[in-house]
């Protein structure tokens, strides 16, 4: 439809509000309380425009553009004098109490309030009275609180409470003294609290980790990157200055993370700056200073010529690095640095997904689902952003139903919230020990993995009676299955979420059967399997056997092992890892951080982290995403692993003058060697990419040394280190000055829009897809006509064993990634590792909360935590927390009281 803004016609989409239409049309209309993900409540009154009845109407009516729907032919005045004056007045009102402390405010330079103030033209204060002041709260190590800056837009509460489901932040008091915070000082409980820093239009909530080494946005060197802390692969923008990674902020991706990040992803970057970094090539028994690269290569060429060379790939290293390792050691000697169980389960998932009968669900698919079944996955802890998406599915389904009831538009958040009250869309959360999303689920089941799988198969049978029924099923389970099946049958876009946290293949199979049974009829079901690491899927697609399979070979002795970015002690039980190293005569490790595996290395090579590297990763859904170097480390020896491996390939082949493969050459080679990766190079910008022959600068054009921090030593800024070879991005502020395409934008910025909200300028419409073509490299392809091959082997019901317990990992939302636990702020929030037991089992063992017990096989004693709804015969042990070890997850262990 056509709308007229200041008498000019614009195309607008039906179902949007006037503010969205204006922003989509590229018009600068200021706003605060509205947010593309949160909808409209009409609280700030900043986006007022005039609406005219017809062409003759000159009087018009002042309306809040966020509260009025688009109508065909509607005439609005944005530049109309009274509307402009009113908007200026609103800013003046906000400013009556705002402290104007921009120079000392962390938000300064990327502040929505600053932008909007300038946009309205308000520049003269008529308010001459004292300003209101508040006491600030301690909100934990991640988020800083400075209430005096607040302009009361309510976004924080609407995000934290309504969107993310946190219940410890709210609005208090009334009139011009409303307060946003907690009931008392304390750590914000939600693992999505970091988004407050971006949702807040000014500096009330800011990133406390950035404060430790503060840098303004205009002084950052930034690049598009991808989060490495779980298998979701949220898009991030990481910023650096003076060789230190300063912060991570959300990089909008419509299909993946939208506008938000979890705290593990946002704050887990600090390992890059860790003192524990490997910065020098090290050879055991040699002084570190003594090892030059020539010497290193010499040493390596000897080691690499050994007969029994094996390479251990990594689920957290890039495709390129894994592939370079595989090429170096040979496909037959390339192993995945994960346990055999994990390898088996991921292979099963790859098999299911490659079959193509099921659509692989993106986070957006999950958010838009009208029924979600979480089968066995502790999604809150293993893929937090997916849990947030599941929550949105439940909330949005209810909202859509309510909106349809009174034909209200979807953006009308205030009205819809009233209608929805406590209604939720259908969610069945079936887990071993519960999760925070239980409280929005219609069906919650806590059961042992085998029983979870049985429930899944029972649901599949209810959906399609050609599938086998459960033998000896109890009535309660069947009832639940019928309830879930009934809800699924009424849904149009159901999503089944599962994954590895049950360490049980039957759960994975059952999830497939449910989705496939749904697809037998007219609707479209999709499935999401959560994997453990950021590139677990990429590694799995390489079809390498697990590291444990090395023992299969009869002569697995005196091996020379090349271990890529991997601490084997986090993936294998200690005994297994020790056994492995005992059979190696030489260990070469490439890693960024010292860990238990690097301790075993004869040669240790400094690898780049994500921030210092280019690379590609495949997320849980088969989406290949590329991340770009944010900066080149000062320590010249730190290089991407594939660089080192390329050099080793040359050294091994005794080609002294050969050149290593560049990134895109490496990807092309991978595509030829392994057709499964066909097209992955589309995910990256070609290194030769340029606009009008110019690079895209990683630094904003205001990067100018104005905040010269070392001016006492030298007024000239240090020159950023330059990359060898070609790259689409330059390391200075020189280069293309215009707005780059969204997929080539190192950061979001637009004239007049310095904050992250400038992303709107890159989108076709607010909260929508980016302008222009963005290649989505999905490695799994839907094959609509293919009939699914169902799994029909249903496991027996779980029977607790005498004196033995099934051991399962208990992940933690902030710590399960290897690297995030190196972040000081996150580490301070980690709970104590423990063993979770059922009430009956605890009584049986004669232990109570806090008593120490020992698990065999295993070495450490851990405190007990009694769980009221955990099944008997199972123990959950903290995984990934400091001081925990790896067990044979999914196997049986013995327990004794310490």
């Amino acid at each position: 439809m056509t709308i007229y803004i200041d008498n000019k016609p614009y195309e607008a989409k039906a179902g949007k509000n006037l503010l969205e239409a204006c922003l989509a049309a590229g018009i600068n209309l200021p706003y605060f309380c509205w947010h593309p993900s949160l909808g409209s409540v009409g609280a700030c009154r900043q986006c007022a425009v005039k609406v005219f009845k017809d062409e003759k109407d000159t009087q018009g009516r002042l309306v809040m553009s966020c509260m009025e729907g688009v109508r065909d032919g509607v005439r609005i005045g944005v530049e109309e004098a009274t509307a402009k004056a009113f908007r200026e007045q609103v800013i003046e009102w906000m400013m009556t109490n705002h402290p104007h402390d921009c120079p000392v405010c962390d938000e300064g330079g990327s502040c929505h309030l600053q932008d909007m103030t300038v946009m309205t033209g308000h520049d003269y204060r008529r308010y001459h009275y004292k300003k209101r002041t508040y006491k600030n709260q301690y909100l934990g190590p991640l988020i800083n609180h400075e209430m005096n800056r607040c302009i009361q837009c309510y976004r924080c509460v609407r995000y934290y409470h309504d969107y993310a489901g946190g219940d410890d932040l709210n609005v208090f008091a009334a009139h011009n003294h409303v307060y946003f915070g907690r009931d008392k000082d304390g750590v914000l409980q939600s693992p999505f609290s970091g988004n407050l820093a971006e949702v807040c239009p000014t500096g009330v909530f800011t990133d406390k980790t950035l404060k430790e080494h503060y840098t303004r946005k205009w002084d950052l060197t930034m690049a598009p990157s991808v989060c490495t802390h779980c298998s979701v692969g949220c898009n991030i923008t990481a910023g650096e200055r003076y060789g230190k990674l300063r912060c991570v902020v959300n990089r909008y991706n419509e299909e993946v993370n939208g506008y938000f990040l979890c705290d593990r992803g946002r704050f887990g970057y600090e390992f890059v700056n860790s003192e524990n970094r490997v910065t020098q090539p090290l050879i055991r028994g040699r002084m570190s200073e003594a090892v030059s690269e020539e010497e290193l290569m010499h040493e390596l060429s000897v080691l690499l010529s050994q007969q029994k060379l094996v390479g251990i790939g990594s689920a957290r290293a890039s495709l390129e690095s894994n592939f370079a390792l595989r090429q170096l050691v040979g496909a037959g000697n390339f192993y995945a640095g994960i346990s055999e169980t994990e390898a088996y389960l991921t292979r099963l998932i790859v098999q299911v997904m490659q079959e193509g009968t099921l659509h692989s669900a993106s986070l957006k698919d999950i958010e838009q689902a009208d029924a979600v079944i979480v089968l066995g996955e502790d999604v809150w802890n293993t893929a937090p952003m997916m849990a947030l998406a599941v929550r949105q599915a439940a909330m949005k389904t209810a909202a859509n139903n309510a909106a349809a009831q009174l034909s209200l538009p979807a953006w009308h958040d205030a009205a819809i919230k009233e209608l929805v009250q406590t209604d939720k869309g259908f969610l069945a959360n079936i887990t071993v020990a519960g999760s925070p999303i239980d409280n929005i689920a219609q069906v919650t089941v806590h059961a042992v993995p085998d029983d979870i799988a049985r429930l899944g198969f029972a649901v599949a049978h209810e959906l399609s009676n050609t599938l086998p029924a459960l033998a000896n099923a109890d009535e309660k389970l069947l009832q639940t299955a019928r309830q879930i099946a009934a809800a699924l049958q009424q849904s149009k876009h159901p999503v089944i979420v599962s994954g590895l946290s049950c360490v049980n293949s039957a759960v994975i199979r059952a999830a497939f059967d449910i989705a496939a049974a749904l697809n037998n009829t007219h609707w479209k079901a999709s499935v999401a399997y959560v994997l453990p690491e950021c590139n677990s899927m990429g590694l799995a697609l390489m079809q390498a056997p697990s590291a444990e399979r090395i023992f299969d070979s009869s002569n697995a002795n005196d091996m020379t092992a090349l271990i890529l970015e991997n601490d084997l002690y986090r993936y294998l039980p200690q005994a297994t890892a020790d056994a492995f190293f005992s059979r190696c005569s030489n260990v070469i490790a490439l890693d960024s951080i010292h860990n238990n595996t690097t301790e075993k290395a004869q040669v240790l090579i400094p690898a780049a982290t994500f921030a210092e590297a280019d690379g590609s990763m495949v997320n849980y859904e088969g989406r290949t995403q590329h991340y770009y170097k944010v900066f080149i480390p000062k320590e010249g020896h730190i290089k991407e692993s594939f660089h080192w491996l390329n050099s080793m390939r040359i050294a091994k082949n005794n080609r002294s003058n050969g050149h290593g493969l560049s990134l895109d050459e490496l990807l092309h080679e991978a595509e030829i060697e392994m057709p499964v990766f066909e097209g992955v190079h589309d995910a990256m910008l070609s290194p030769h990419y340029s606009i009008h022959g110019e690079h895209i600068p990683r630094e904003p054009h205001r990067y100018s040394g104005r905040t010269a921090m070392y001016a006492n030593l030298n007024v000239s800024e240090q020159k950023p280190l330059q990359e060898e070879g070609e790259s689409a991005f330059g390391f200075t502020m020189e280069g293309f000055k215009g707005q780059p395409p969204a997929d080539a934008a190192p950061f979001f910025w637009s004239p007049g829009w310095n904050s992250g909200q400038s992303v709107t300028k890159y989108q076709q419409e607010p909260g929508g897809a980016f302008k222009g073509h963005i290649p989505a490299v999905q490695l799994f392809h839907d094959k609509v006509d293919k009939a699914p091959v169902f799994f029909k082997d249903i496991p027996e019901a779980f029977v607790a064993r005498k004196q033995k317990w099934l051991v399962l990992p208990q992940y933690h939302v902030l710590a399960s990634g290897e690297l995030s636990s190196y972040t000081k702020a996150l580490a301070s929030l980690l709970p104590e590792a423990c063993v979770v037991l059922s009430e009956t089992d605890a009584a049986l063992l004669g232990v109570r909360d806090g008593d120490k017990i020992r698990v065999h096989p295993g070495t450490t004693a851990l405190p007990v935590k009694v769980h009221l709804s955990l099944a008997n015969g199972v123990v959950l042990i903290s995984a990934g927390l400091p001081g925990t070890e790896v067990y044979n997850w999914g196997d049986w262990v013995k327990i004794e009281k310490e």
């Binding site: 009102w93 008091a173 009139h175 009308h412 009233e418």
Partner: protein, 450 residues
């Protein structure tokens, strides 16, 4: 002697209790109404022309007919007893002295609307009244007027008293609903309207205490008879709570045919201004309606006599008229300072703003500060224009009517008494010692006589 429908028996000994109330003809309307159909009751109320007594004056019968009736969804009647408007205390009088009249009206109205659970949301500061109401409810219940199967008709009804926590904004019907649901009392954005989705998402009617009490005489005498009382669209009787500089402050029931002059000066009502002082101004409908100077109060701009009814009081619009509002009639004599009076009101509205939308939250606080400066001799001439500008931008631009309620008194004070504001600015020291007085007009009664 004027007609009295609500306060007829107000002075009967023990009328607060069931026995005396019933003896004087109480609960007759319930007996009558429960034999009628709910639709017929709504029809009677429509015919009566009863307008909402809370302030907006919206026809009650019309409001009732809007209530949605989805199958299987309970409906609710909520009595708005959050009477917090400065100057208004008519509902307090009704609840305190005639609780059974309200209960009776609630039973009839609940039956008409199909509400089996009816709520009285009462202002927190009326701390002693819930006990009176609950006692009356218990008595009514003990005598079979409430509870299950009332009078054998199969109609069940319970009345619950919910105490507010002292927020003026909770008198706004959607904020009241939020508060009743146990949430922060912020107004909702409409639609959905309460008639469709109100308390707990159920169709809800929110009515003022006096409105619901008036249902009793309407049923007793019939809607047509009720409509004959009063004038034009101002039918029936209206309670006026009169206060300020008058000899006889109190709650009066008027039939809306009397003139403002009669109301102020006759001994039947306010009994004139004490100490022979002259009338300066009046806020005729509760603190949020525009203040009128004496000359415009007694006669309209067209020179016609102004009467105590909806139409006449608003004659002339905001330029030269005011509003009936909630019936809080505040009289100011020649010794009163309009600036100070406006400051008091501005302070009230600043404090009672919920803090949801910017114009009201920030604007009311700013207005208070400016008024304070002017009142205390620190004002500048430009402050008066600034004040005018701020109130203009608040009015009509907020989520709920509180913004308007805060803007109107300031606007009217400047509109009619700008000279007094200017005098404060120009004579900072003198304005601290004495009041401006009547200034530019003589005794209002002389004008009326002329």
């Amino acid at each position: 002697m004027a007609v009295k429908l609500l306060l007829e028996n107000a002075h009967v000994e023990g009328i607060r209790y069931y026995e005396a109330y019933r003896r004087t003809g109480g609960y007759r309307s319930v007996e009558k109404a429960l034999k009628m159909t709910p639709e017929a009751i709504v029809e009677e109320v429509k015919k009566s022309g009863l307008r909402g007594r809370g302030g907006a004056g919206f026809p009650a019968g019309m409001k009732w007919s809007f209530i949605a009736k989805p199958e299987g969804v309970p409906r609710h009647l909520v009595c708005n007893a959050d009477e917090s408007e400065p100057g208004t205390f008519k509902d307090r009088y009704l609840m305190e002295f005639l609780p059974h009249l309200l209960i009776e009206g609630l039973i009839v109205s609940s039956f008409a609307l199909g509400s089996n659970a009816t709520y009285i949301y009462i202002r927190g500061e009326y701390a002693w009244i819930p006990d009176i109401l609950e006692h009356a409810i218990d008595e009514a219940k003990a005598n079979g007027w409430l509870g299950k199967n009332i009078l054998g008709t199969g109609f069940d009804c319970e009345i619950y008293v919910q105490r507010g926590a002292g927020a003026y904004i909770c008198g706004e019907e959607t904020a009241l609903i939020e508060s009743l649901e146990g949430k922060r009392g912020n107004p909702r954005i409409k639609p959905p309207f309460p008639a469709v989705k109100g308390v707990w998402d159920r169709p809800t009617v929110v009515n003022n205490v006096e409105t619901l009490a008036a249902v009793v005489p309407i049923i007793n005498m019939g809607g047509d008879e009720y409509a004959k009382i009063g004038v034009g669209r101002s039918t029936g009787t209206k309670l006026i709570s009169a206060c300020g500089n008058i000899n006889k402050p109190g709650v009066y029931e008027i039939d809306m045919t009397i003139s403002v002059e009669e109301f102020i000066y006759s001994d039947e009502y306010c009994g004139g201004i004490p100490n022979g002082k002259k009338l300066k101004a009046c806020i005729p409908g509760g603190s949020s309606v525009p203040i009128l100077p004496a000359n415009l109060l007694l006669k309209t701009a067209k020179g016609e006599t102004r009467y105590m009814n909806y139409e006449s009081l608003s004659d002339g619009g905001f330029a030269t008229g005011s509003m009936m509002g909630s019936g809080g009639f505040i009289v100011l004599d020649e010794d009163q300072c309009v600036v100070r009076n406006t400051l008091t009101l501005a302070r009230f509205y600043r404090h009672e703003s919920c803090g949801q939308c910017s114009p009201c939250r920030e604007g009311t606080g700013w207005m208070e500060k400016i008024l304070k400066n002017i009142e205390y001799g620190k004002g500048k001439m430009s402050d008066i224009d600034l004040l005018w500008d701020i109130q203009r931008k608040i009015e009509g631009n907020t989520i709920c009517p509180l913004g308007d309620a805060a803007a109107w008194p300031v606007a009217a004070a400047i509109r009619h008494f700008r000279d007094e504001f200017e005098w404060h600015v120009l004579n900072p020291e003198e304005s601290q010692r004495r009041n401006y007085g009547l200034a530019h007009y003589a005794d209002a009664r002389e004008i009326v006589a002329a």
